[in-house]
């Protein structure tokens, strides 16, 4: 992708929150979970111009404010899906709707932002379940490319993309072995070569331009795109499941000063102490417990064991049910030992911190983007559901293609 376009997109993201419909909203009377601090009973969340302006009790509510009565309800930050393909896919088996996979196995310069389709039907479905922001990511190969953070609100890519890039995807799992000549050892050798070449390129750009240096292992644009990763400013979001692969990721992170976040981490519980010491967050799929050779030690209490070792746990969802079960993924982590508060953090503030956007997202605090959900009950149990989903201060209509189908077939035969 043309880096000028990327730069343009990045610049535009700074404006996005002000493009939201400005509404002044007071959510009153609910039990508020700011995540950044303790629960507050009977509290108000005040929203103005797309931002949270106050959270607490006995607030003065300006005249003309739209009130949402949340008495008896639960109020949380909007959920952040840290490993989605929202906007990049609509029907998995239909190539025409898939934009997340670039050919080749080394694509650090591939940024998915301009592949996003703001009109995909699964975005309204995901946000009706309380997801308000998502890391949407490329897949395939050793370095699939750059993931971006999007708000699940907006008709144009520029309105949605909030952080670009948000992470560099790297795949250290079984599935990238082909990129290493069929061996995990080859994968690591190739990664080191590319990383070293990126740093060499950075040091000797003048020589490179004069063609006064040996051939590099990737084109200049790809190496250039890796530099923020090697400077530790762009998170390396590395898929790794087997204990030895997670250990390899930690080794690489030490050698190259990567800001590492693990995705998958099936056997992370086995190496939890190392991850905790290295302060590496782990994004887990709490449902993963089937043994495979990529993670024979899969177990359902992975998230709880990691939290006990003081690892920052992020909860992500597998996508078989379409991107609408993030809250239940958190519920399963609770079922298997994670505390309720840690589970809420694992789908809000923990990913926001891991991807460097906690100044804007992940908690209910004055100055943050007004992504707020009012739940009828427990967000993580089936008996609860989202009643209001507010994204960037906008109370989103609770409609989707699914609700349209429901209404069409609620009474049979349908009246066309």
């Amino acid at each position: 992708m043309n880096r000028n376009v990327l730069a343009a997109l990045s610049a535009l993201t700074a404006l996005t929150t002000s493009t939201a419909l400005a509404q002044t909203i007071a959510i009153t009377g609910g039990t508020v979970y700011p995540v950044s601090g303790p629960r507050i009973q009977n509290a108000t969340v005040l929203i103005q111009d797309g931002k949270i302006t106050a959270v607490g009790t006995n607030l003065t509510i300006p005249a003309g404010t739209t009130r949402i009565d949340a008495t008896g309800r639960t109020v949380t930050p909007g959920l952040l899906n840290a490993a989605s393909n929202l906007g990049l896919t609509q029907v998995g088996s239909v190539d025409a709707t898939n934009e997340g996979n670039h050919s080749g196995d080394l694509n650090p310069a591939f940024n998915v932002a301009e592949g996003i389709n703001p009109q995909v039907v699964n975005i309204p479905v995901a946000r009706m379940e309380g997801t308000t922001t998502a890391i949407t990511r490329p897949g395939g190969g050793l370095i699939p490319g750059q993931a971006v953070l999007i708000d699940l609100n907006g008709d144009r890519i520029e309105d949605m993309v909030s952080q670009s890039p948000a992470a560099m995807m790297i795949d250290l799992s079984e599935s990238s072995k082909g990129a290493g000549g069929g061996s995990r050892a080859g994968v690591l050798q190739r990664l080191r070569q590319v990383f070293q070449d990126a740093l060499e390129y950075e040091r000797r750009k003048a020589d490179f331009r004069k063609r006064d240096m040996q051939d590099l292992s990737a084109p200049a644009a790809e190496l250039e795109a890796l530099l923020p990763v090697l400077h530790g400013t762009l998170p390396a979001f590395a898929i790794a499941n087997r204990e030895s692969d997670i250990a390899s990721a930690l080794r690489l992170a030490r050698e190259f000063n990567l800001k590492l976040v693990i995705l998958g981490g099936t056997e992370a519980w086995k190496i939890a102490a190392d991850l905790g010491r290295a302060k590496v967050p782990v994004a887990v799929y709490p449902l993963t417990n089937l043994p495979s050779f990529d993670g024979p030690g899969a177990r359902s209490d992975n998230a709880a064991l990691l939290a006990a070792a003081e690892v920052s746990v992020i909860v992500v969802e597998a996508e078989t049910g379409g991107p609408r079960d993030l809250r239940f993924a958190a519920g399963f982590a609770i079922r298997n030992g994670l505390s309720w508060d840690d589970a809420l953090k694992a789908v809000t503030l923990a990913p926001a911190m891991a991807f460097g956007v906690a100044n804007r997202y992940g908690s209910l605090e004055p100055g943050k983007v007004a992504d707020v959900v009012v739940w009828s009950g427990d967000p993580f149990d089936y008996s609860g559901h989202a009643e209001h989903v507010i994204i960037e201060g906008k109370d989103i209509p609770m409609t989707s293609r699914m609700t349209e189908l429901l209404e069409r077939y609620r009474h049979l035969p349908p009246s066309y």
Partner: protein, 468 residues
């Protein structure tokens, strides 16, 4: 509807035991030397299931969802010798009974997954374990899933820990006609024969829509009309086969017809002895398949993955065809694009026999979660569903789809002691199965590592926290 083993012999001998719902009986010995020389009349991979001996069990003071009546609070359930003895407010334990305090806990029937590929697509998921799709021809009615089934699949203990006691293990959906399914008790065993549910009829896996036409796009069928022609051609041939065999079986004079395994399975469908289990997503295709069944005089027992069933719930209720659906899978291919979470609730309201199924080694561990998600999705959208209805989606309704509902699927005196004790409300995400009894056998105890079955594959490879 229970039939006896082997199925073909059922036809010959049915007069002596019609309507029997007893557990497996050995096939009667062949009556003459002709029969003795004919493989079709000899035992066909008979069940060797034997009930495990266990002391009587009394669970007291629990909330019981029986799948046969109203939810009972502060109730007890007694089971002995593999059978439920009684359910009620105040039961006395017989001598030697294990007494379990169910305070704050729930009891349900063992869960039944009528759509599983455990054992035919086993973990760890290498090509070596890929035994579910004989994708070499659009019609492979001759293959039997039990001949692929690996009892050491390490996914089995995880499903048991989710409260599952019976599964239908099916061939995959690559083919128009994929082969015979097997209904199995989910128990540790060395052979699939030990797991075969005594007396359960076979199912025949059929598949509509995208999968067969994708797999065979170069050789055909490559269209939905090609799919339909494929089923019809197969059953036309089966009609003649059935006639030839039925004629010969009347007096057994002369040489019997040549045996054809493919046509044998289809003829058994025509005779009503094998139940059609039809993978079919789209509403219009389900109606086509019901017309196909009418053309050949059989009945489709259940549509599986019936994502669009809610669009024709009135028709499905009228035709008495069960539907197996997911609570939340949708959108992964075009024929699943119209999935909605209220589908089960809408169908329930229309009177369809709804089933929540898994098709998945993850989902099978959480069938109660699927039922809960589908139930609350309905309630929240103004399509009310009761807990008494939702528990049937994962117990008695799949038992009916498999033809074993007279033996299991609900908690009633005389039925099999397939019983799960849950830590709390089974429709809450925080609840886990604590005790799982299969035909009275305590197979899983979350609080006792001695009662957590591990497969051979687990030993030395996977973590001992299995089921955690």
């Amino acid at each position: 509807m229970l039939t006896r083993w082997p199925l073909l012999i059922t036809i010959v001998l049915a007069t002596g035991c019609a309507g029997s719902s007893s557990v497996a009986t050995k096939p009667e010995p062949a009556k003459d030397s002709t029969a003795d020389s004919i493989s079709a009349l000899r035992p066909q991979y008979a069940s060797t299931y034997r009930r495990h001996q266990n002391p009587p069990v009394l669970i007291r003071n629990a909330t019981i969802l029986t799948a046969a009546g109203p939810e009972q609070a502060n109730a007890s359930i007694l089971f002995q010798d593999g059978k439920i003895v009684s359910i009620g407010p105040n039961l006395t334990a017989p001598a030697g009974a294990t007494i379990i305090d169910g305070t704050g806990k729930y009891v349900t029937p063992g869960l039944i997954d009528d759509h599983s590929h455990l054992g035919v697509y086993s973990a760890p998921g290498t090509f070596a374990e890929s035994d579910g799709n004989e994708a070499t021809s659009p019609n492979t009615a001759q293959v039997w899933a039990e001949h692929s089934f690996w009892p050491q699949d390490p996914q089995i203990p995880l499903a048991i820990a989710g409260g599952v006691t019976v599964i239908q293990a099916l061939p995959g959906s690559a083919n128009l006609i994929g082969g015979r399914s097997a209904t199995l008790r989910l128990i540790p065993a060395r052979t699939v024969q030990e797991m075969k549910f005594p007396g359960a009829p076979y199912g025949l896996k059929m598949a509509c829509g995208e999968n067969p036409k994708r797999v065979y796009q170069n050789s055909g069928p490559s269209t939905r009309m090609g799919n339909m022609a494929g089923y019809r051609e197969a059953f036309i041939r089966a009609e003649g086969y059935r006639r030839r065999w039925d004629n010969w079986l009347k007096d057994r004079k002369g040489d019997p017809p040549d045996r054809d395994l493919q046509l044998e399975s289809l003829a058994e469908v025509l005779r009503g002895h094998i139940l059609v289990q039809n993978h079919c997503y789209r509403a219009d295709e389900m109606v086509q398949m019901m017309d196909l069944a009418r053309e050949f005089g059989f009945h489709i027992r259940a549509f599986h993955h019936a994502v669009e069933a809610y669009k024709i719930a009135d028709i499905l209720a009228r035709e008495n065809v069960a539907t197996s659906v997911w609570a939340d899978w949708w959108g992964f291919k075009m024929e699943s694009f119209d999935g909605i979470p209220q589908s089960a609730a809408l169908q329930q309201q229309a009177g369809v026999r709804v089933i929540i199924h898994s098709d998945d080694a993850d989902g099978i561990q959480r069938l109660n979660d699927g039922a809960a998600q589908a139930m609350y999705s309905g309630i929240q959208a103004g399509v009310p569903v009761t807990r008494e209805q939702a528990i049937k989606w994962i117990t008695i309704n799949p038992a009916w789809a498999l033809g074993i509902d007279s033996v299991t699927g609900s908690l009633e005196p005389g039925k099999a002691a397939d019983v799960v004790l849950w830590s709390g409300d089974p429709f809450s995400i925080y609840t886990r199965a604590e005790l799982v009894f299969n035909d009275g056998w305590l197979l899983f105890d979350r609080n006792d590592p001695k009662h957590r079955p591990a497969t051979d594959f687990n030993l030395g490879v996977t973590d001992p926290g299995i089921g955690q």
